[in-house]
Subunit: 315 residues, 6 copies
Amino acid sequence: MAPSLPWVEPARTFLGATADWEKSRVVLVGAPLDVTSSFRPGTRFAPQRIREVSVGLEEYSLLFDRSLRQAALFDAGDLLLAPGAVGPSLDRVEECVAWLAAQGKKVALLGGEHLLTYAAVRGLAAAYEGLIVLHWDAHADRRQEYLGQELSHATVMHLVARLGIPLYQMGIRSLAPEELAAVRPLLRRPALPPANRDDNPVPGGQAGSEDVSGGLYLEDLLAGLWAVLPALRSRPVYLSCDIDVLDPAYAPGTGTPEPGGVTPGEIFRAVGHLPGVNLVGFDLVEVNPLVDVGDCTSLLAAKITRELILACSLT
Amino acid sequence: MAPSLPWVEPARTFLGATADWEKSRVVLVGAPLDVTSSFRPGTRFAPQRIREVSVGLEEYSLLFDRSLRQAALFDAGDLLLAPGAVGPSLDRVEECVAWLAAQGKKVALLGGEHLLTYAAVRGLAAAYEGLIVLHWDAHADRRQEYLGQELSHATVMHLVARLGIPLYQMGIRSLAPEELAAVRPLLRRPALPPANRDDNPVPGGQAGSEDVSGGLYLEDLLAGLWAVLPALRSRPVYLSCDIDVLDPAYAPGTGTPEPGGVTPGEIFRAVGHLPGVNLVGFDLVEVNPLVDVGDCTSLLAAKITRELILACSLT
Amino acid sequence: MAPSLPWVEPARTFLGATADWEKSRVVLVGAPLDVTSSFRPGTRFAPQRIREVSVGLEEYSLLFDRSLRQAALFDAGDLLLAPGAVGPSLDRVEECVAWLAAQGKKVALLGGEHLLTYAAVRGLAAAYEGLIVLHWDAHADRRQEYLGQELSHATVMHLVARLGIPLYQMGIRSLAPEELAAVRPLLRRPALPPANRDDNPVPGGQAGSEDVSGGLYLEDLLAGLWAVLPALRSRPVYLSCDIDVLDPAYAPGTGTPEPGGVTPGEIFRAVGHLPGVNLVGFDLVEVNPLVDVGDCTSLLAAKITRELILACSLT
Amino acid sequence: MAPSLPWVEPARTFLGATADWEKSRVVLVGAPLDVTSSFRPGTRFAPQRIREVSVGLEEYSLLFDRSLRQAALFDAGDLLLAPGAVGPSLDRVEECVAWLAAQGKKVALLGGEHLLTYAAVRGLAAAYEGLIVLHWDAHADRRQEYLGQELSHATVMHLVARLGIPLYQMGIRSLAPEELAAVRPLLRRPALPPANRDDNPVPGGQAGSEDVSGGLYLEDLLAGLWAVLPALRSRPVYLSCDIDVLDPAYAPGTGTPEPGGVTPGEIFRAVGHLPGVNLVGFDLVEVNPLVDVGDCTSLLAAKITRELILACSLT
Amino acid sequence: MAPSLPWVEPARTFLGATADWEKSRVVLVGAPLDVTSSFRPGTRFAPQRIREVSVGLEEYSLLFDRSLRQAALFDAGDLLLAPGAVGPSLDRVEECVAWLAAQGKKVALLGGEHLLTYAAVRGLAAAYEGLIVLHWDAHADRRQEYLGQELSHATVMHLVARLGIPLYQMGIRSLAPEELAAVRPLLRRPALPPANRDDNPVPGGQAGSEDVSGGLYLEDLLAGLWAVLPALRSRPVYLSCDIDVLDPAYAPGTGTPEPGGVTPGEIFRAVGHLPGVNLVGFDLVEVNPLVDVGDCTSLLAAKITRELILACSLT
Amino acid sequence: MAPSLPWVEPARTFLGATADWEKSRVVLVGAPLDVTSSFRPGTRFAPQRIREVSVGLEEYSLLFDRSLRQAALFDAGDLLLAPGAVGPSLDRVEECVAWLAAQGKKVALLGGEHLLTYAAVRGLAAAYEGLIVLHWDAHADRRQEYLGQELSHATVMHLVARLGIPLYQMGIRSLAPEELAAVRPLLRRPALPPANRDDNPVPGGQAGSEDVSGGLYLEDLLAGLWAVLPALRSRPVYLSCDIDVLDPAYAPGTGTPEPGGVTPGEIFRAVGHLPGVNLVGFDLVEVNPLVDVGDCTSLLAAKITRELILACSLT
């Protein structure tokens, strides 16, 4: 940068990011993996677009009465992933995530397609003993193969479960027939929490006392989260959030939208429950700017990212 | 099809459709009537677009714990309707629907504009004695004429009512001044159902006991349906669903969107009430892919169609 | 209008229109007929949209070194045409055009679909003895019926020819097999004009000397016009211009775009040839704002309209 | 207009507007101010676009069982504001609003950007002693300067407060760090109203008894309105409604959308509370047709405008 | 298909396709390969979209005075290719193309991305001794690897050349620095053909007499084709046409548009030169409906496909 | 940047930019001025969008057989300009441009709206004695005021001329009536250059020998440039290129598109003439990504920018 051009804007990073690597606690990394999408591709453009629209938001969050400046966020840019190269791309994601954990940083991973969660969990499992995966999604992603492929956005949670990591899925509102047999024993329709369920925070002791063997909670994200919160509190937790857990009215920019999802208000209330949990990182995946309308999905993703970064910084 | 090309995909039909006409119970027919729209035309493209996006959904429905494969759906393609020819088009729809009823098939009719409901009801009235029409819509469609035309999407329910068919309308949130005089005696603001109104299924005996003289229920679709369910249970029922009963945020792709409608969740809960009813067919009309955004209206229409087909197959 | 609100803008009319009916020489009328389109409907929105974007142009034309103010244009608004009512709509167009001719006004008709040309020619034929129709289009529109309909945008020039009006068609680059038999004797591939063909104006005596029995000139609009100019000079001429004579890159907003058409430069050169002709009116049809991109078709239509109005005012 | 062309449509005004200035009670004025937007410009196109889409609605409102015809609305067109000229534009808005108040008319102001509210309040403050401003928005707009500018859409409510006008803000869900210090004492998280909060109308006596020193109510629009209604009832009230108070799913067409807002149903319920208030005028600002999708924001704005005009006419 | 529903439309195939496999001479196959695109993905949707819009064209071609009905086209549908599986997909394309050649059919291959050409050429090379590849494109596609991948749309012509197949490239207007060293010896700037270059057909004897060692002709497609026609006449020829050879104004729907390309008129004139050549098949690749505007790229692709099918059927 | 994250992509700068300020010869600066647009705003987004899409091009130019790497381009980012603040923004542009000239750098300025050219010329006039301005545009931009404003995109060339700088305008195809009186004496319709006009480079001696008093050349950009090249050769030249000099089919993303402009091929040929000129800087203005379609305008702007940077580096 020219020393004598003080009036120029710096290059685009995520809203409120610091330039101080040493002091940073949370590190944002873009992972534009976009290979196995079966319907509408384009998730490769999400990390950059989410950064760009993030400047339309404030750094300060009313939800947490706290600013991103306090979160010490470092934006490391995007991983270079060769188009069409699934294996090497997953290796690079795993290597990056593991390295960040070794540096004591929490990771905020912006996809890209959902398959990268498999790599991220592999990268974190060694660093965090007893890691639990929390999964918000419209789909269970538990096929055993998809059109003959084992590595796919549609098989990613099958792959995670096979690693022996406890897995709590919620918001699920669509299941493929071939998933059904495998997941039927795991299905839960959670009871609604007590009357004050809309309030933050959830008093931990009043929730159910699930064990850590995992479960698949249908539709109601908040009821599902309420049910599993006690189980989450004793372990390091990684959250994988597929943007299609939201209704397509709020998040049309995604590859396989599924009508009938949650609202932004429900997502933000759910995020408001996380500070009681040891959140060691998260990913936000399947945002597809190529099919977005008016950037509303990218903008919503940016706000969810802001709140999740703050949740990470608070635990 | 060339016998030695086993690797090619079949042509596009609706998700999960069977090739076995004999065993089919529900027959999907597209009726791309698109003549009398007063604002934004384009509904002629809906049947094909809904089929195309339907492959992004699963055949299995969590709502009914049942798959389209079990519904024995046959997709008969689209009716050939000459542009601008209202009368002959309506005759063809009527003839088709009557013939399907005579074959013992239930009809799933994808519009096209709403006027086709008049033809469909004429075609079914002879086959099903005591037929009742259930109507979900933002507008009452009960003008007596529209810009001098008697046959119009804006007069269709006036035409149906004139056939002497009992008519239950719900979700209505917009009325033209000229409709008001005629429908004022029919207006109902239904009481909310008891506390568990969100649960499926509705225990029939607890609902109100309407007679079969019809009614026009404002705004709250579920409360209206709850009120009329007892009346529906003793008769064959045809459902006409105008996609604009949904809020434009969920269904922007329609000719005359009306702000303030129901959510997909409410529609699916309403559909969940239908298996107790003898549903002999349905139409889904006024989807307009030409003004849709990101195909979200077509996709939502496809999911509603899936659930309504399953509801037909269960009764 | 409130007398004490001098700062408000006037309502939208076409660029440069006068409020003085008496002195006006050219009258612009919108005819939003939009019934028989076989592919993508939406032409009903064209007249208003063309007016709106026209304000982005200047009133002064470099082509004619003359301003719209000098043309004494009156903008009469749009005809009220009931959706779906073909016959009454055509009658209204005919009546309006005939009345304007009787008032000594030249008509600038903005469609709407092409079928309205049939009505306009009927309305003008009585007023102007020896009327000739000049037709610029990608398609010949000379089917005898279309999906069983006699009145259609695809049959309009067959209808005009049947009136006994000499018809010169040019720019045609697509023919239906069923048109071919009828029009084969009329096909012309015009020789290119002499070397200075790009210059304005065309010296009349040097062009070919066609009789007035009409003809169908393929593809090259300027060569075709050059060939027929002598025949046009002795008679009143009505020009019907279908926007799809232009390449879809310049005019994507139309119902049945046909790749490979003329450029705006060619159209403007062609219009530059018209002042030597007794142009008694024109229509510009098949602009469809609903499928336009960035209003570029409407804007090009507005500029063509400006130049054609000036051409009318010069003859 | 030509006397002998009785079949032409009148020029575009807002739905149901009267031509009788003398008898009119509410006057709609467009103020296409569009200068200081920091992100996506385009609000200058809103007044005209809202008028155009308003014809897709009915004049009759179910919410008030009353028609726009009864409201005696006059549509005065748009103010002529030179692009880039902030000061003169604000002066013109102020002058217009003051003049309308002097004529005994209530003003319905369609923006344009939010900064115009400052001019409108200046224009009304002299005419209505004790004026109170009610503000519905996603953002507090209380910065003291924005990128060195004092006059900005981001400072408008700071400017209003500095005039000494009591200011009640609600629906706020985003605050800039630099606003926080100033507004912390004003922050309120209102208790939910009693169980029947969804019903209309709110029985005034049961609400809280705020004084008229103003306040900033977070997020829940209805709860905030419920809390301040008693304070509003004794004074003339001007409502400033920023369309971004709605969730971007319902109103994507705006410059700085903020995920997580209210629904159309909540807005209409809030408007339903206003007839008990002496509403002397309102503005609806920040609609941006340039980034709208399928005109859904403009259409929603038109419906809100209809209901607010009716609310004005009822008080 | 139900025997008693004679009024339903057949499923979507390409315009004018026959159902008679035995008599067919040209077979259209969709190959929705969409894995290695480095910029904007979406070519997987092209085969189906091109079919759909093809019905907006006529079956009769003025260029060849011949109809598709005479070409005996069979539309075999799309190959099933697993997302992300490059190797197996290429094998399937090769197998399909080889099998069609063995059946004596000419292949019309609709991509999908350009990499499939490598598979098609492998499949045809055995069947047609002395095969020559003609390549129309904006880019040379002769990188040796792309981001570490050997199989890529950017390396495809390097792969073809390595097979030892003579390769004539034309229309090229963009070269990567890393391609330059390899292709410099092959660069040609062809002289313009004689004055009547715009006329069809090109008299063969007057053109240049290239040998069959291939060449890379810059920018001017017609001049390049003119130069190589003599070399093409003695051998079986496969044409690979990348849609981005056209200017983005005509074909915006493609992954890596390059400003400054040829016009549709030039393409059609080039196709008009092909009947003198033994054209044994062709592909049309890199159409991307996901980033198209108003389907104009798909429509242009459909028209080019029609003309190329006719060219195949004439040789 | 974290030292140990070597796998991340660098932040977005223009294609092929160097990080070495000292050695750089051409400096790219974004100037997102977007205040006085009278029609469709949005040019503020152009600099960033042009950078983003530039990566879809190659660094190597066939036109100059030279790569951007050889041009030693430094991308300094965007100037921070407060929305709505015309005067301070112009001062900042002037200051920046003057400073760059003082450092011996040539400036590549990406707008933003055209008004910034006034500031740039002021900044350069002191540094380069005898500076001449070359202006490519659809509009003359020579109004004396626009809606009462003196500083406007519509007055910018009037302001430049008033500085006493010789001004050569070409490509102009639209004039406002109020401009006409002032510019009539300057109007030129240049004779076509000799037969080889399409070839590069233009042999200087054969062109006309204009003096340096300026001129306004209508429509044909190449003929105009040919006529003024001799006059340009003895002086430092600044080029101001308004993207709307191109036809809207190629550059729809601009505020006031004017049908009938030049093609990309003509622009590139014109740029090919510049290396004989002492080009000391240029601007490319009025690109508006907000109304672009498929980024085609931004992409074309990026390619023109690449060629102009190379032209600067060659002189």
